[in-house]
Symmetry: D2
Subunit: 399 residues, 4 copies
Amino acid sequence: MSLHGAGPERTEQIAAAVEAFVRKVVIPYENDPRRDHHGAPLDELVMEMRDKARAAGVLTPHILPDGGHLTQQETAIVLQKSGLSPLGPLAVNTMAPDEGNMYLLGKVGSPELKQRFLTPMVEGRVRSAFFMTEPALEGGAGSDPSMMQTTCRLDGNHWVINGRKAFITGAEGARVGIVMAKAADGPAAGGACMFLVDLPDPAIRIDHVPNTIDSSMPGGHATVTIENLRVPADQMLGEAGEGFKYAQVRLSPARLSHCMRWHGSCQRAHEIAADYANRRMAFGKHLIDHEGVGFMLAENLIDLKQAELMIQWCASVLDSGSLGTVESSITKVAVSEALMRIADRCVQVMGGTGVTDTTIVEQVFREVRAFRIYDGPTEVHKWSLAKKIRRDWKAAQSA
Amino acid sequence: MSLHGAGPERTEQIAAAVEAFVRKVVIPYENDPRRDHHGAPLDELVMEMRDKARAAGVLTPHILPDGGHLTQQETAIVLQKSGLSPLGPLAVNTMAPDEGNMYLLGKVGSPELKQRFLTPMVEGRVRSAFFMTEPALEGGAGSDPSMMQTTCRLDGNHWVINGRKAFITGAEGARVGIVMAKAADGPAAGGACMFLVDLPDPAIRIDHVPNTIDSSMPGGHATVTIENLRVPADQMLGEAGEGFKYAQVRLSPARLSHCMRWHGSCQRAHEIAADYANRRMAFGKHLIDHEGVGFMLAENLIDLKQAELMIQWCASVLDSGSLGTVESSITKVAVSEALMRIADRCVQVMGGTGVTDTTIVEQVFREVRAFRIYDGPTEVHKWSLAKKIRRDWKAAQSA
Amino acid sequence: MSLHGAGPERTEQIAAAVEAFVRKVVIPYENDPRRDHHGAPLDELVMEMRDKARAAGVLTPHILPDGGHLTQQETAIVLQKSGLSPLGPLAVNTMAPDEGNMYLLGKVGSPELKQRFLTPMVEGRVRSAFFMTEPALEGGAGSDPSMMQTTCRLDGNHWVINGRKAFITGAEGARVGIVMAKAADGPAAGGACMFLVDLPDPAIRIDHVPNTIDSSMPGGHATVTIENLRVPADQMLGEAGEGFKYAQVRLSPARLSHCMRWHGSCQRAHEIAADYANRRMAFGKHLIDHEGVGFMLAENLIDLKQAELMIQWCASVLDSGSLGTVESSITKVAVSEALMRIADRCVQVMGGTGVTDTTIVEQVFREVRAFRIYDGPTEVHKWSLAKKIRRDWKAAQSA
Amino acid sequence: MSLHGAGPERTEQIAAAVEAFVRKVVIPYENDPRRDHHGAPLDELVMEMRDKARAAGVLTPHILPDGGHLTQQETAIVLQKSGLSPLGPLAVNTMAPDEGNMYLLGKVGSPELKQRFLTPMVEGRVRSAFFMTEPALEGGAGSDPSMMQTTCRLDGNHWVINGRKAFITGAEGARVGIVMAKAADGPAAGGACMFLVDLPDPAIRIDHVPNTIDSSMPGGHATVTIENLRVPADQMLGEAGEGFKYAQVRLSPARLSHCMRWHGSCQRAHEIAADYANRRMAFGKHLIDHEGVGFMLAENLIDLKQAELMIQWCASVLDSGSLGTVESSITKVAVSEALMRIADRCVQVMGGTGVTDTTIVEQVFREVRAFRIYDGPTEVHKWSLAKKIRRDWKAAQSA
């Protein structure tokens, strides 16, 4: 998969088609009762929407028919439109964790692995899961990947994997898994490995799917036990011991695509709140004519624009070939915090209606709250930015 | 019902008993699966907890055996303890809207109405609902009560009530209702009236119970149509046309008791987050030894203390006999915003765990978000405070 | 004056030259004691620095030798560098109000007016003032220009101007004035006019120069009485009655150039604070290794980037030919508030040292505080953005 | 000096007298031009105001004629009134650092030391300075007192002191000094000692008085070199090696009295801003009728009340005999941050006028900015609160 882009005009066409599809076809599904008990749409509903997306030519819109991938700047425009409904990314196959998994496979996978695992994902026929994070109070890897406890050991022509994983989004119902583990011995000992596996597999036991504040992701966020999972050696993704490097390859774009999608959702939440404020009266005038409300909507305009600019900037850095670790930290913090403010204001503007599921505003608020933690909570990013300031200062001193 | 108080030692005993009951008996119910589809506990569970509270002598702890009511300052201490679990107020009968309804009936009700409607409420045998607010986009009364559209008309010895109500907490399953309407004609025309009614009543139709961001209140927040509800004239609460005045009587204490209960919940959320931060490691040390986390918990201490002081101050104003309209506006804004900051920090400190229902932190976050809107959103209170500043300035000029 | 730009490479050269000049030549002047009693550098010092800037080829760097003007995007890069010292814009002639006045004259002035008034300004030989705002408590024009009370009346071949002006930056010591007044009668009655005048003029009396929180602008911000000022008709700038339109032409770029300069100052304040945090120890480690400090500096990185992106975006809108009223409102709010946060954090990071004049951090904090009010306080911009949301909604409804 | 209190009625009388004096006598001095070049009033002006205060019976109002000291709760009420003008505490002798120095001497001083040093301070005839903090970039004691580098050595019947001190408020012009140093040898080696000294003394050289953002304290905040200062052994305050303990005695009340005084100043700034907003028109109505302004003033009401409650609570803790270290940290952070928000809003409400010295609002903003750093910046207090949470958790675990 190359990142060759589509050009501005073509991108605009794709984005417009996605927006039209989401607004006309997907939004009516927002009231569809087919949900699992965590509030996420059932796969049946997802596949129904995807059939329509396929027919409309907007399925997996960021991957071109020739296998090429839109640039990150182009992707930003398209994914933002897909996010105009919380169901949009599911409908057009731009959602997490699949979008990031496809990206990683496209970058690192061998032709065989791509054919077997990536193709059905790009075709929107299966969902996937990324098995990295581990249970917090068991001392496992969360924001600090070096704490990884899951191990893999080479046994003949297979790797044997053991460990516990937590917050594995979409594990329930996924057909493809990317499993990360630390090599317990051998030449790559202490290094991380990634494996592609077919799911479900009896050696990967879903212990528990906690209820979470968000409710857009089918399968929720599972806690999982991996017990003697045997994976053929040729299902390793890339090289042994390079897993942390691959995680980095996936990291920044995945972080950024979260920003894109939720930016779209907050854009829509703002539209809903602005519409409400233009209709609802209180104390003798329309809500929007109360500065207390109008100013909140004005602040939304500012925050939406800021977030959009940050996304485009970070995308341009990634497009230049950089890993963008610092830039995606900056962007993730700025965007997630801005979107939280927007979502919170939308709820507040709509008063009682804002805390009901009459509109998606209430859901967007919950989703964005979770987003401030997913992909590294704000504090972890600030921590690494502070380290960078220290590093840069030392380098300047010795120069 | 008089507000004669219990004295500091007695109050401390009551509070300690409530705290012990909530911590030992109620908290284990937090994982009980008996919930309605909005997430609130089923009445069956509520009644089971109340039986235990009755046995432990902590049921309706703010109303004394002789019918007297704790002072607001005493109530604050007791209700704060009841709030240490979101189930606590339900278990010991200090929850909204019943607590406010009992208070109002105790203040304004005739002996006959008290005997018939108040007694079973104080005994924790029935739930009640307060029918005041109306659908926003139909132009009904929300934060601005003067917009009330529900009407009542005297027809012989009965009043006939018609209208639509929204956000009627606990209407589903309630046995007692207090219904508010504007007199359409007669001597009280344009004034508001309140009526006590037995529920359910076929003339009060529950159209819809929206899913809401909060999930602690049995029966949720219903939208209701009242069609030709006939209420015997002697079921009017107080005098015709005095309804807005009675709403004021209920208003400040009800607002304040929300503050008390959710203060307790945030106190507990803070305990949970602090415990987590003292156990969980990241980047080589306990979370709490990271200033980025430790400072958030320190800010919680500050906000918890500030909120407590505001509650006690406002309670003392109410105890002095004032309606406390200004003071309860100040307190409602300060406390709800402080509690939101606390709840948000607790979620953030706990990372992924914070957005799951593994602990109550996630629920408390959602409840407090709603609280910033219930009982008048922040903006409405600021609006009325600004009006007061204008009024005071004009008065000073003409003096 | 055309806005033809210099191309990316040329712009980079100009910016680099300005940065080098400010860092090497201007910064040492920061401790120069030659200040007026408001804290601003005396003109003697300004002219000394300008001589050096002229020699270094960096005087008025945003206006090209052929009279052309850098594009706004190019200007942003150059002016940001000039702002690395609060003295920088004075030294290289990019400061307010002259920069905006030059821009306006370049856009609207006749060749004769340009020759007479603009040339010496571009050569950095004189300072100018813009007489628009009026005393607040006398009901004059502040954020709301329609309240303008200063009048002009045609009397033969002269206009006679009367009124009071306030916050006239740099009036004391200026040699060129642009005076704005409302036509009291004649065909342009009620419309605004602008006039170019030589200063000083006995008919323009400086009543008072208040001490202000900022101290970078020579001449401070004067309150002025204009009494029977007679201006030859050919010194009118543009057409009678078009004054508000010209004010708009000046408005957005002037607003934006403030953002650029103070962005540079905050960049430098951040450098100073980061350096301090990397040297100073407390509680056994460097300040920056305390997350409480490191996170503040990380937040600075985020805010600096956000502000920079907003400035570039708004500049690109202006470069496209738009008046950019909405965009410059968005940008002014976002940038000024971000810079305030940055300046505040820099002070805080440096502790006691931060509130002294040992470094420019203390001054930058004060300057940025004023900036949140100059060119329209945050609230006025939110107000106009809310109006726009209302307008857009209505337009969409009728479409 | 005992802390026996005056009773509520007496306290109210004292507070009323102080308020009347400040409003009628002191406020007119706010425009007096007698200032030193740091902006603080000259001692000549201070002594003139004190003569009037003495005549009005409001000099040193928190110390009773019999030498007794008001309780902290009573002190709070009185000092808040003294702060209604930035000049008020200077006029009635309740300002820092004298107020804290008097408190410490009253608590720890021997009768002889009190007679010689305390009496003229209580009589308002001299100013004093507290020599504790040291230059930051020389590694000296700032927020972390254990870093103290100034030493004292017993030499016969004298102590010989050497070191550097920074931010020594009021050193220039002070007649009494309390000097803190670490014992270099002897039985108290490593412990801190405090000495009372007459000023000026040639062995205490004022190197520099930086310009600072605040301007209310005569003498500014000096950097000082102490070279072979010889102090007779009987001028030691209390016992050798107990200096850190005495610093603690002074710490919480001094911290709190800052809160009190600046609360008064912010109360006044709010009065000024509210008055302005009630007079000034913009866009067709009074500023206060714009919610954007009215809400800011409403938020001031909330913050003023919160700050007042925190002060009273912390004072009650100190009155109970506790050192109040934790409580004064909580209060210092909460109050200083609340006052900053208030001062900032007052500036903003007043627009251009707010950044001039037309009113005291501009000065109060600058003073409160400094206050967020004096007596321990916000971050140091949060740091110690986080430590406390950790300590408490460990204690609970081992219990």
